[in-house]
């Protein structure tokens, strides 16, 4: 603890570390705001995808700390472009602002983050994403009606709707030979 009564942090969880913690030892709310943003990011991309990004720097003794630190400071870790297409634009902005590499570019208080989060809304929020090696699948249950939307690696999509006690029926707007992430976002927002 220093003369002003501020405790220095002697341990850091490397996976969730803020770039400023790699070059300084005095932290304030900006550090917490970064970690909140990173937690939101991790929730949006999924823990497996986030951990895969971290593991790309190596594991065990071969973990490349210098490379990780470099990417962290340059804003390359975590990969800002990896957020799934159904992430609402407002939420993307909030996450990106929380995990800005420069402290001055982040929210400056927790209440600012809370107020910004209160504004997140949109039809895409109810979809749940699960991924396999060659498929992304979104599903949602709306008053008993199950929607399942899949997009394979080449962008081909299929969507089925199943009412209670009914058989799956094709949703033609969701069955395309190719859908870009922008198309996916639009489609998910319209159902």
């Amino acid at each position: 603890m220093n003369l002003s009564g501020v405790a220095l942090q002697d341990r850091l969880y490397n996976k969730m570390v803020a770039p400023d913690a790699t070059y300084g030892d005095q932290f304030d709310r900006a550090f917490d705001i970064y970690q909140l943003g990173l937690t939101l990011y991790r929730m949006c991309v999924g823990d497996a995808a986030f951990s895969a990004q971290y593991a790309s720097y190596g594991t065990g003794a071969s973990f490349d700390r210098a490379e990780f630190r470099f990417d962290l400071r340059k804003g390359r870790f975590p990969n800002r472009k990896a957020l799934p297409p159904h992430t609402p634009t407002k939420l993307r902005h909030i996450i990106n602002k929380c995990i800005a590499t420069k402290i001055a570019d982040r929210y400056q208080s927790a209440i600012d983050v809370a107020n910004a989060l209160a504004g997140v809304d949109g039809a895409t929020l109810d979809w749940r994403l699960s991924t396999t090696a060659d498929m992304r699948k979104w599903s949602k249950n709306e008053s008993g009606t199950l929607y399942e939307f899949t997009v394979n690696k080449s962008g081909e999509s299929r969507c089925y709707k199943t009412v209670p006690n009914g058989l799956p029926r094709k949703v033609s707007a969701g069955c395309k030979m190719y859908m870009s992430d922008e198309d996916i976002e639009k489609f998910l927002g319209s159902y």
Binding site: G5, V6, R69
Partner: protein, 64 residues
């Protein structure tokens, strides 16, 4: 009973509780520390991925 209106403008923020000099990590927010720069690369990391700046660097320390 008199109703009290909830007004966010009336909330007390943590940053209002302390004089400016104490907010922002003793005014040293974002300041570079050569010691920390160096230690970040050499400090020991335990099996759970925590970098420990207090203990001595260990050979063959793990990333996580």
């Amino acid at each position: 009973m008199r109703k009290i209106k909830n007004d966010p403008a009336e909330y007390t923020k943590r940053s209002d509780l302390y004089p400016k000099s104490r907010v922002g990590g003793d005014n040293r927010r974002g300041q570079r520390s050569k010691k920390r720069e160096r230690e970040y690369l050499t400090a020991a990391i335990d099996a759970c991925g925590y970098i420990d700046f207090e203990s001595q660097p260990q050979s063959g320390s793990v990333g996580e």
